[in-house]
Subunit: 361 residues, 2 copies
């Protein structure tokens, strides 16, 4: 795929430059090499200046329910709003004219992108420092985006049978250990694995029950992302894991406002034999970390994504699949935005966006 | 109580100064008047500079469960972390040496303090601009702080009876309308009421189901606030509504690290006939908006808080109760941090903290 031939880190205001050279896989689409341009220490550590910050919700619908409460202090009947998507944003001065939306994965919230478990800067702030208006969402039904708890109360009140209780799951530390590829099974680790395990409690604290299977279909996060993209006019949708497919599903609804897609370790790519037309309209990056071939869960997903990328390019698209070890970046877990080398990968993704979209650096 | 005698707004870098003169209620404790000092337009609108920002969790405990999941993709048995408290912070350069913790109320999350429903600056940013290291939490079991969903799955799996389902309630728009004192009943409004009702959808989108009654007792938010206070060394705990009592309960655990308490429209004050010793150790402000006497829910709470303040002062404390209409600030709802005059009230609370704690302005 790519080959990392140089990665020099310079101090002061200078940039660390690396050169990725293109090898066989993309020859048919002639996608040029990425030159990784790192943020220097000053850009990473000086006081952060924001032109504006804030938060809002997108979407949501009002529903009537008679099972809102079993407590006398709160009426059981009335109107509530569900399915909305919380969005927090920060915009630096003289920002780039393309925004970035960060979309978390399973059993997590927007916290994924904030301060890492071991206390380092998250990608939310990194990309603001790099000049992007940056939007961090909580998926509908997760975090600050309300779940719809009426079905639970309906069962409690005897109005619905127990088997109508919503399907909600919590990923255990032990399950997450394997899914996040810290090692083959809890508590074993892969050699050289870069997740900061000494601070693992900071990851376990981030995890929340996942109501995904209790949500309407399609997940309301997808139309909300579409509405957000239209509002932003030009944005990159960057997703992770469970939400890896969401930017693709958003583009299938409408490509309006979507400048590019970055899907990090997606749980699924679009079917390679489906209609690939929407995905030929914008640069696409699918990113995977290390140890993928060792994981029965992830290896087939990587394979399917490779096929999707190939077919999308055959249909005239500009899709890329980057497997980090193939460019010499080793040891990354599934939670690569929190791994010890998270900033190195952010540098790479920032450079990809800038070079594919013709943005200033 | 207080009487607002002057409120002059000046442009440019100058400050708007107001003078509150003290009348009878506090004569026994001789608490001096507050001079409200407003942030000027430049301080409110220039780019925001942050020395540091980030997020972390406090507290939480690991539990073993066999009812984590009913899905084949996620194991039913394993360890999860529950009861932790999400905390987001922003610290301005040359910050004051006393921090501020903002604690939301019922059926809401830390979003309460962010951008108002009609798109104006929230108190989270206001107090950063005023120089406070500002910490916004999501109560344990709310927002980005995970709920414990194992009891729901235990019922779904037939391992526990339905009546063991957690007590979770959602406040309807109609209930909230009255509780938040937009008017006597939905959809009537009080004359001159200052909540931005044209943007009410932005409030309904903020509301989330409340697991308070399914939480351990005491609510884990309270020891987490205690741990946060100790970590911050000197902080003001500012709470609202359901959480109005939490700063008091935190101080009863330990006064370490707590510089002052601000309780906004508390659902309850500590019992006036209880041990008031912890509350004599620090300045206390209990703040109420307008229309309180018209509300069967709020009028008794105001009365009980007045009695608490009186007894605390009789025991040697420095507690104050400020009813906004008594200082000429009229029309405030229960959601006064989102009301149209929210910044005027923030000015007042900032001035109170600075003058009671001897901070620079």
């Amino acid at each position: 795929m790519y080959k990392l031939t140089k990665h020099a880190k310079l101090s002061g205001l200078a940039f660390a430059l690396s050169v990725l050279t293109l090898s066989a896989a993309h020859a048919q689409t002639a996608i040029p090499a990425i030159r990784p341009v790192a943020l220097d220490q000053k850009a990473l550590t000086s006081p952060l200046v924001l032109e504006k910050q804030g938060s809002f919700f997108i979407g949501g619908r009002d529903i009537q329910s008679d099972t809102l409460s079993t407590l006398p202090a709160y009426a059981p009947s009335g109107t509530i709003t569900v399915d909305q998507m919380y969005t927090h944003f920060q915009i630096p001065p003289s920002s780039k004219d393309i925004a970035l939306v960060l979309i978390h994965g399973c059993c997590l919230t927007g916290k994924t992108w904030e301060t890492t478990p071991d206390g380092r800067m998250g990608w939310d702030e990194y990309f603001v420092r790099r000049g992007y208006p940056t939007f961090v969402i909580d998926q509908s039904g997760r975090g600050r985006s309300a779940v719809n708890a009426t079905a639970m109360n309906a069962a409690k009140m005897g109005k619905e049978p127990v088997d109508k209780l919503p399907v909600v799951f919590a990923a255990s530390h032990e399950s997450a250990w394997t899914i996040f590829r810290f090692g083959p099974e809890f508590p074993k680790t892969y050699d050289g694995m870069q997740f900061p395990l000494a601070a693992q409690n900071g990851l376990w604290q981030q995890m929340v029950p996942d109501w995904l299977n209790a949500m309407p279909n399609p997940n309301p996060t997808i139309p909300a992302l579409s509405e957000l993209s239209k509002k932003l006019k030009k944005t990159v949708l960057m997703s992770h894991s469970q939400s890896g497919i969401y930017p693709f599903q958003t583009a299938a609804l409408s490509t309006e406002g979507i400048a590019a897609l970055v899907s990090i370790e997606p749980g699924a790519c679009p079917a390679a034999d489906g209609d690939l037309t929407p995905y030929t309209k914008m640069p696409i990056m699918v990113l995977f970390g290390d140890y993928v071939e060792l994981s029965p869960r992830w290896a087939p997903r990587l394979k399917a994504c490779k096929e999707f990328v190939q077919k999308t390019n055959a249909a005239g698209g500009h899709a890329e699949l980057l497997l980090l070890p193939e460019v010499g970046i080793k040891g990354n877990s599934h939670m690569l935005m929190q791994d010890i080398n998270s900033i190195q990968i952010a540098d790479l993704m920032g450079s990809w966006m800038e070079q594919r979209l013709g943005l200033t650096q």
